[in-house]
């Protein structure tokens, strides 16, 4: 797009702001017990106010109520959604198609906010009215440049009483060129996240001075410690020369796997894909005298302590990668 095209595009884009996506949408069925029960089965809900009229009487709810997060389900289009929206059926679809046609083919739901004025009673008929509330300036995001689109929906019952509201934010983005064909969006209205491949922990970059160590972990299920064959001094992390005697010859021993925690931290943020948070990260004093960084597992963060005895556990990731972790000593 040259500058003039971009201006024309922006102008047209802004005309969507404030538009209702279509006429108000009324749910096919009133709030009813069979749909509530089906929902509760799937969610593993046992809440008496959703399922048992008698038990509900003894609660603040007084009678059977619909689970609050079901609100949107009462006005879902249902079966026809499986056909997709290659031909836009409402203004929201037209906005998404307009952006897709201009290269913003990626789509990702990012945030929702729902307010429940009250829980719904059996027999209430829900109607939703949705407006395209905001379109952001063009933003640089981790996915690519794009626009955040916010829709706002207000929900009323058959008497026009307010029963709740929802806002939904979607990022519509231009995937970087090489990623354009992979992954891609799912639901045409952005209600589905998409990722190309399951992330794994960052693998150790392998060089001549460290690859052997990781290979030993993987093949022999041991925690190796490098040993100078000149003077016998152990060293970790491995290095190509002994700082005591200058020898470049070395072999390794398998650590006993016993050690104590020298210090630790519990990592909460930022969270990287492929790791399981919070991470209890430890520096271990190995019985052999060397120290190493590792992860403590099978232990609640609040139970970790400096000086705690730990034992080796060779952990295997889903992708087969092996890494020496520790757990509290038995």
């Amino acid at each position: 797009m040259n500058e003039n095209d971009k201006k024309a595009f922006e102008t047209q884009l802004r005309t969507f702001v404030g538009r209702p996506i279509g006429p108000p949408m009324t749910g096919r069925d009133p709030v009813n017990e069979p749909m509530i029960r089906q929902w509760c089965d799937a969610m593993g809900e046992t809440h008496p106010a959703y399922l048992d009229a008698k038990a509900a009487k003894g609660t603040i709810h007084g009678e059977i109520k619909a689970p609050p997060t079901m609100l949107q389900a009462w006005v879902m289009e249902g079966w026809e959604m499986h056909e997709g929206y290659d031909e836009p059926k409402n203004e929201q679809h037209r906005l998404h198609k307009f952006l897709a046609d201009h290269g913003y083919t990626g789509v990702l739901g990012t945030n929702t906010e729902e307010n429940y004025t009250r829980y719904l009673r059996l027999g209430e008929q829900v109607t939703a009215e949705t407006v395209i509330a905001e379109i952001s300036d063009e933003k640089a995001t981790g996915r690519g440049i794009g626009y955040f689109i916010t829709t706002r929906t207000s929900f009323v019952n058959e008497k026009g009483e307010d029963i709740g509201s929802m806002s939904f934010r979607v990022l519509r983005y231009k995937p970087p060129a090489e990623a354009a064909s992979a992954g891609g969006g799912a639901g045409k209205d952005g209600k589905s996240a998409a990722v190309a491949a399951k992330p794994t922990r960052i693998k150790p970059p392998m060089g001549q001075d460290n690859a052997w160590w990781w290979e030993k972990v993987a093949k022999e299920n041991v925690l190796p410690i490098q040993r100078c064959t000149g003077c016998g001094k152990l060293r970790h992390p491995p290095r190509p020369m002994c700082d005591a005697c200058g020898s470049q010859k070395w072999d390794s021993i398998a650590a006993s796997g016993r050690g104590t925690i020298h210090t630790f931290t519990v990592i909460h943020y930022p969270q990287f894909p492929g790791y399981d948070y919070p991470i209890v990260s430890i520096i271990v004093d190995l019985e052999e005298g060397e120290r190493m960084a590792s992860t403590l597992v099978e232990c609640k963060p609040e139970q970790v302590a400096i000086g705690m005895p730990v034992e080796l556990l060779i952990h295997t990731d889903e992708d087969g990668f092996k890494i020496p972790f520790f757990r509290p000593a038995k």
């Binding site: 922990r201 210090t263 519990v266 990592i267 909460h268 943020y269 992860t295």
Partner: protein, 389 residues
């Protein structure tokens, strides 16, 4: 020829861009703006500059900066390694160059789109780091990916050993935030912080909460260094370099020196202290104000001990006695520091050190003769003492 760097060189100019979360311009643009302002501040012309020094991490090469600013012939340039550990190293390299006649006027600079571009708080990955990739391989697979996680391991041990608590860390963060309220350039101006604000912020890596960690910012900052003699005839009151050194201690790694006997101390800072006090003939009692590197609050505690402002394990009591405030024993980071002014990788702390000598800080204490400024903690580092002519 001088035998030490003592009193041979001085800072004659400082320059900085606005600090922001989104500069909207290139890092070269930030670098050249800061460099040009430092030259103007000293009352020189770009053609008077014949040397440039920056960080290995900086993306704006010396010749690109020179060509953009209009600096002509150069006889000296260098880059200093190890992230924020480089800050004082820049001054050391420039001072050596002017003291030996390798160059007359050297500008040192650092510019980064640290928030809108590559964010350091997002940690290391196999893609970004290359030269010390193998070193990181002992930490990355375990999820030790960010500066906060590496520092937290040391902070935990220090706090447990000496009984320091979150309240002590909060004191440091709150004091520096208070200082920033008077600084028009500070990102945290207009956002004072209470103990509740501090305690209610989310945990990042225990024991570090959000406000124990510095920010990420866009901006550029530069200093012009010349001989102490020439500086006397320039536009600004010089900040004479009483002493300066780089310091890396036995067993040093970049951020992961976990293999030393005592993890609750900063031996590289103790080494720096020994050298600069020897060079200058000064001691902790002679230092009137400081800009101690503050990427994370526990670093301040350990530096106070390393530089002898208090004994081992006593820093917690030193900070709760309000020693780091304007009226205290050692006003520290009077501009807000990396925590509350901006994260310019420590060069903004050097600029504040110069302002404190000039008497132009936004929070100027009375009678400042000597200011200590340090660079990065947990990395090969350095320290400088600025003094009056």
């Amino acid at each position: 020829m001088p035998t030490t760097i003592h009193n041979e060189a001085a800072v004659a100019g400082i320059g900085q861009t606005a600090y922001s979360k989104k500069s909207g311009v290139s890092e070269l643009s930030l670098a050249t703006e800061a460099v040009r302002k430092a030259i103007d501040d000293a009352g020189l012309r770009p053609s008077d500059v014949d040397g440039l020094v920056t960080y290995t991490m900086d993306s704006s090469d010396e010749v690109e900066v020179a060509r953009t600013v209009g600096i002509g012939d150069m006889t000296f340039w260098s880059k200093v390694n190890y992230g924020g550990g480089a800050a004082v190293g820049l001054v050391a390299h420039a001072a050596m160059a002017v003291a030996t006649g390798m160059a007359k006027n050297v500008v040192v600079y650092r510019a980064l789109n640290g928030r809108s571009g590559q964010r350091m708080g997002q940690g290391v990955s196999g893609q970004i780091i290359s030269s010390d990739l193998i070193h990181w391989s002992w930490y990355m697979p375990f999820g030790l990916l960010t500066p906060a996680s590496w520092i937290a391991l040391q902070a935990k041990l220090y706090m447990e050993k000496y009984g320091a608590t979150s309240e002590h860390l909060a004191h440091i963060a709150i004091t520096q935030r208070m200082h920033a309220q008077n600084n028009p350039n500070a990102a945290m101006r207009g956002k004072p912080m209470t103990m509740d604000d501090y305690m209610n912020a989310r945990m990042i890596c225990e024991p570090l909460r959000l406000f124990d960690c510095c920010q990420e910012d866009d901006g550029g900052c530069a200093l012009l260094i010349t001989s102490a003699e020439r500086a006397k005839d320039m536009k600004q009151k010089p900040a004479v370099i009483r002493a300066v050194t780089q310091a890396s201690f036995e067993g040093q790694e970049q951020m992961t020196s976990f293999y030393r006997e005592d993890l609750a101390a900063l031996p590289e800072m103790e080494l720096a202290a020994k050298i600069i006090y020897e060079q200058s003939g000064l001691g902790a009692k002679d230092i009137d104000a400081a800009c101690l590197y503050d990427a994370f609050t526990p670093e301040i505690l350990m530096q106070l001990e390393a530089f002898g402002f208090c004994g081992k394990g006593e820093a917690k009591d030193f900070v709760t006695a309000d020693s780091l405030t304007l009226g205290g024993a050692l006003p520290n980071n009077t501009h807000g520091g990396l925590l509350s002014e901006a994260y310019l990788h420590g060069v903004n702390n050097l600029a504040e050190g110069v302002r404190l000598i000039r008497g132009t800080s936004c929070n100027q204490p009375e009678g400042v003769d000597h200011v200590l400024v340090t660079s990065g903690v947990g990395v090969p580092t350095g320290a400088v003492i600025f003094g009056q002519v």
